[in-house]
């Protein structure tokens, strides 16, 4: 199932390494498989490697789509 979590890059280190943060927890990972990552970016981390950056625009669009898809529904009390 490939457990991977979106994590914020808080520091880019030497040798393609970086420190990421999730829920206040920090971990050192490798950026060897991705390009152009800078602090503040969110990356998907799997077994200690970033696999991709998160596209913030697309994320917003997905959230918007939730609204769109459910605009006629109301939450049960």
């Amino acid at each position: 199932m490939c457990l991977a979590m979106p994590s914020k890059v808080v520091d880019v280190l030497n040798d393609d390494m970086a420190i990421i943060e999730l829920g206040g927890v920090k971990k050192t990972i490798s950026l060897g498989l991705v390009e152009d990552v800078t602090p503040g970016d969110y990356v998907i981390v799997h077994v200690g490697y970033a696999l991709s950056k998160i596209d913030e625009d697309e994320a917003l669009k997905t959230i918007a789509l939730f609204e769109e898809m459910t605009k006629n529904e109301s939450v049960a009390p």
């Binding site: 490939c2 457990l3 999730l22 206040g24 927890v25 920090k26 971990k27 050192t28």
Partner: protein, 348 residues
């Protein structure tokens, strides 16, 4: 005792290490016991210096509990094996609703362990015992060869008394009862994991390890009819609630959003693929009490420093299968089964 003269040279607490002779029954052992343990734990009963401690107990039912502590690493954020060994047994005794009074301490030391670290551990035990108001009244020291231990293992066994009006036991959970916890879940396990080789992550989470007898005293005073109390240590909430469900022949329904979990604990669990409900705690208790007294109990808990984040996290339900279930924040339901074996960090 005019015995100090027998040890003309004092323990080398700076550079010394545990040697086989410290467990050999000779003068080296006697000196270690007297100058390290005796000094730290000093009390009248221990000073009897016999192979057993003798003391008077107040009236009431006697309650006794034992645990061996084998934690690695020995020192961790928020504590060490020494105070953990006191907290753990004080809690197991107190969770009966009784008052813990006396502890025994059995040490299994590994050859080569620094005496300096042993001193730190022993001092922490003494401090924790003092804070909890219990006395370490007798002990034992064994030394095992290097490669047959892990620095220090400690067994503590505690004794206390319960007054006659208290009947707290694992088989007393009844459908309708409420399930309470005194605070954040999973801190201890995550603090330990953050130090494990290979997992290495950085979190400011501290172990929650603490003696809960003060809190429990307040709880029992507020609600003498607490049905069940137990600490969710190894195996976490999941294991403890399943145990109780099985013992009482009931089911449980937890409400996920009500379970207090720190962001850092959630974060660490997400990274490692673990579930906080299975992570160990060392300063938490689960209490189950009649529904109509749950609020009273909650307020008593919240009034104590170790219960500030206390919460009602679910209810006991009828269930012939004794399942523990969880209503998720998402709106679904799942079973919180026991774990099979240990929870291992995973990638998929």
């Amino acid at each position: 005792m005019s015995t100090r003269t027998a040890y003309t040279r004092s323990l080398d607490l700076k550079n010394g290490v545990v040697e086989m002779s410290h467990g050999g029954g000779g003068r080296a052992m006697s000196q270690l016991i007297e100058q390290l343990f005796g000094d730290a734990f000093a009390n009248d009963i221990l000073a009897q210096g016999n192979d057993q401690a003798a003391f008077e107990l107040p009236r009431g039912k006697v309650v006794m509990s034992t645990d061996s502590f084998v934690i690695s690493p020995l020192f961790f954020p928020g504590g060490n094996i020494g105070n953990l060994a006191v907290h753990g047994t004080v809690n197991d005794v107190a969770l009966s609703g009784g008052q813990p009074l006396y502890l025994t301490a059995g040490f299994i030391l590994e050859e080569g362990f620094p005496l300096k670290d042993l001193k730190t551990i022993v001092d922490s035990m003494a401090h924790a015992a003092h804070e909890a108001g219990v006395y370490i009244v007798t002990g034992d020291t064994k030394v095992v060869e290097r490669g047959h231990g892990d620095g220090v293992y400690i067994n503590t066994t505690g004794i206390g008394v319960i007054t006659d009006d208290i009947h707290i036991s694992g088989e007393r959970a009844r459908p309708g009862d409420k399930i309470l916890i005194n605070g954040y879940v999973g801190d201890h396990g995550v603090a330990i994991m953050s130090l494990r080789e290979g997992l290495g992550f950085e979190a400011s989470v501290q172990s929650d390890c603490a003696s809960l007898n003060g809190l429990i005293g307040d709880m029992v005073k507020a609600v003498p009819d607490i049905h069940v109390m137990r600490d969710p240590t190894r195996g976490g909430l999941a294991a403890t609630l399943n145990e109780i469900a099985r013992q009482s022949g009931v089911g449980m329904m937890l409400n996920e959003p009500d379970i207090p979990i720190r962001d850092q604990v959630r974060g660490a669990c997400e990274i490692l693929g673990l579930d906080p409900l299975y992570v160990a705690n060392e300063g938490k208790l689960l209490a189950i009490c009649p529904e109509d007294q749950a609020e009273t109990l909650l307020h008593a808990m919240q009034a104590h420093p170790l219960g500030k984040q206390a919460a009602i996290i679910g209810s006991v339900i009828e269930d012939a299968n004794s399942f523990v279930q969880l209503k998720t924040g998402f709106g679904g339901t799942r079973v919180v089964d026991w774990i099979a074996g240990e929870q291992l960090p995973r990638i998929c």
